[in-house]
Subunit: 397 residues, 2 copies
């Protein structure tokens, strides 16, 4: 009679990320063909998207014989908490969601995808869900992998799950209703992939930097950049999709970013804006260590500016930056595993960052922001010139 029983829990979950434009065309069944419960779907909709898109979604579903039940949740970090998860669970139960045959449809930015995805991951131990990203940032980031999660207090993504979506459907038409800052924020995350993993992507961004204001990546060059971003991201994620390995090149830009993101409660930076600041801080640390040339760090700074991404918030103090690294070290199981750029398109990981070098590099970055602001007010158009340019062409569907 045995007294040891080995068990292996083996799970294989395939999914597809699919460009599907125009997603809401009457003849396009992509959003309705998954699932077997006829006549209805539960749709979680980002409040930032609802004014422009809820009516079109309603028409689309009705044209396919489906009555959607919408739950509109606040977009951005304000929805990303356990209270929203509880509210979604409650609504799913009221709806009587089928456990297997009725995918929850998530339409929104990264925070809504992460929060709705987490609720779906734990409702009856996991129900299928479809992601439809509506922001550039969510398109290239939250949509791609299998992570879901919400914040607890000030701790970002403290709870969550690795839970693959059933399907990811991409359509750039949603970008038409984004603000210029949202576009720039998404470009910040693409910039990370270029700097850390793929020089070609960095070059593409550089070459097209002055077009994004008008194209919003809805032209052929934009398509190429987005496809490349997803491919670079997948190259990093595929062999490590459950993060067994905690040294990850895609963590570049995510060591100090929480400090930037949390720096001003009154006017918080967007995620991609904070990532871009982290990239520049990491580059300055690399330069100080002789890992990266000053020229490449300057090239990064230039492109960051051209993409309409902001400088260091004036109120921010150095200790916040070090605290962010401390928190990340805990998340990365006791080692810093801090990615630092080696050149455009390549990065390494270090465990020995010292507080003094981080603080010095931060001061250098902050001084650069101050200098640029002074120069701006004297000789150039106002700061965030690119973002201002974008504003002129903002459009609504």
């Amino acid at each position: 009679m045995s007294s040891r029983w080995p068990v292996t829990a083996c799970s294989v979950a395939p999914y597809e990320i699919r460009v599907c434009e125009p997603l809401l065309a009457e003849g396009n069944r992509a959003l309705t063909e998954y699932g077997h419960v006829p006549g209805r779907r539960f749709v979680i909709l980002d409040s930032a998207v609802a004014p422009s898109w809820q009516d079109r979604l309603l028409s689309y579903f009705r044209a396919h014989g489906i009555q959607p039940t919408f739950m509109v949740v606040p977009g951005g970090e304000q929805c990303k908490n356990l209270e929203t998860v509880g509210a979604i669970i409650h609504r799913l139960r009221q709806f009587g969601l089928d456990r297997r045959n009725e995918p929850v449809i998530l339409v929104g930015g990264g925070a809504v995808l992460d929060t709705g995805g987490f609720a779906a991951s734990i409702y009856r131990r996991g129900v299928p869900f479809i992601r439809v990203p509506t922001t550039l940032l969510a398109y290239v980031d939250a949509s791609v992998g299998i992570k879901t999660g919400v914040n607890v207090g000030t701790a970002k993504n403290l709870v969550g799950a690795f839970h693959p979506p059933a399907l990811v459907l991409l359509d750039r038409e949603f970008f038409s209703s984004l603000s210029p800052r949202d576009i720039a924020s998404g470009l910040g995350e693409i910039l990370k992939l270029g700097l850390g993993c793929d020089e070609d992507l960095f070059d593409m961004l550089d070459a097209a930097a002055d077009t994004f204001a008008t194209t919003r990546l809805r032209d052929a060059a934009g398509f190429t950049i987005l496809a490349r971003s997803i491919e670079v991201m997948l190259d990093e994620l595929r062999p490590n999709i459950f993060e067994r390995e905690l040294c990850r090149r895609v963590d570049l830009g995510h060591t100090f970013s929480q400090a930037f993101e949390m720096s001003s409660l009154a006017d918080p930076l967007l995620h991609g804006e904070a990532v871009a600041l982290d990239l520049n801080l990491s580059a300055l640390i690399s330069v100080r260590r002789g890992l990266l040339s000053e020229k490449e760090s300057a090239r990064l700074a230039n492109l960051t500016d051209e993409l309409g991404l902001p400088g260091v918030p004036p109120a921010m103090q150095p200790p916040a930056v070090w605290d962010s690294l401390t928190e990340r070290t805990q998340h990365r199981a006791g080692r810093q595993r801090a990615p630092l750029p080696l050149r455009i398109g390549e990065c390494t990981s270090v465990d020995d960052l010292r507080e003094d070098e981080v603080v010095d590099a931060f001061r250098e970055l902050a001084a650069r922001t101050t200098a640029a602001a002074t120069a701006d007010s004297a000789t150039r158009p106002p700061r965030q010139a690119a973002a201002a340019r974008l504003k002129h062409v903002e459009e609504r569907p």
Copy 2:
């Protein structure tokens, strides 16, 4: 340039269920050798167990150079909710739990294992945890598979995760502090495995039924029964551990059990008690359908009684039983998939239960309880004679 990207999220998580007696012997390193953070561990402890075992656990850990941080949570269904999960998450963050190298140790009954396991499943998208079941029910049920979860309102296990433990450590010494009702409740879950999957196990239970009061399954026969239970359970779970297939023989006894479990808020039935009532109800339905012989149904009823398991609570009404089936149908993705016994050791699954046959069978079961109670008061020792017998030998470590 592609516009479709297939991704496969593949996860292989091995774990071991191990009998390890006596677990808390000074020389036994089983509970401390997993993990790489020296000097400390976070231990979630069932309040039902704390009075008898916390000091011994403390001595054990200290003898191994470990300072345990205990979090005592209420045992039983009262802990099994999102509030407790939130409290655990908060404490794990305060503790600064390492994401990979510091397993959360859960010591308790099924509710504590399910709740603590769920908190560990979602904290930083999953940290390792070790289960140490302290009840007979948890030993043969909650410990074995990969399910975690909590109730939301009256909905049992409405949220949860499939998340394998790092390790399961079994020691029957904990049974010494169980109440007779807890022992009987655990026997109810073993009875299910015997009736639905394994005639030998049913026979073993039958043969030893009058010994459990004194042995509490801590003798050789008890060991054989427990090992057989785990093996039968694993035979069912291994090919279907993520419940891709929703027709499951181990769901026998879990179609109507929620109605029994929820029938009396003042004095709720224990899980295994409710399961045993469901088994008998299912058997009566099977008899009415000609699927099971009256003789085998009577044999089940006899053994149920001998094991000290109770009859139908007097206050209970038939609609609750049908509602439970309706809820389970939703959980089983729109089909009843109700297991019904065919003979001792074998069951089938049906989708066409009618309300009238369920209600009639329930009335028959309730009448049997009433008749037994009348006979008891006239000619036999008080009802739940076996449980009363157990009370005399209750011991504390």
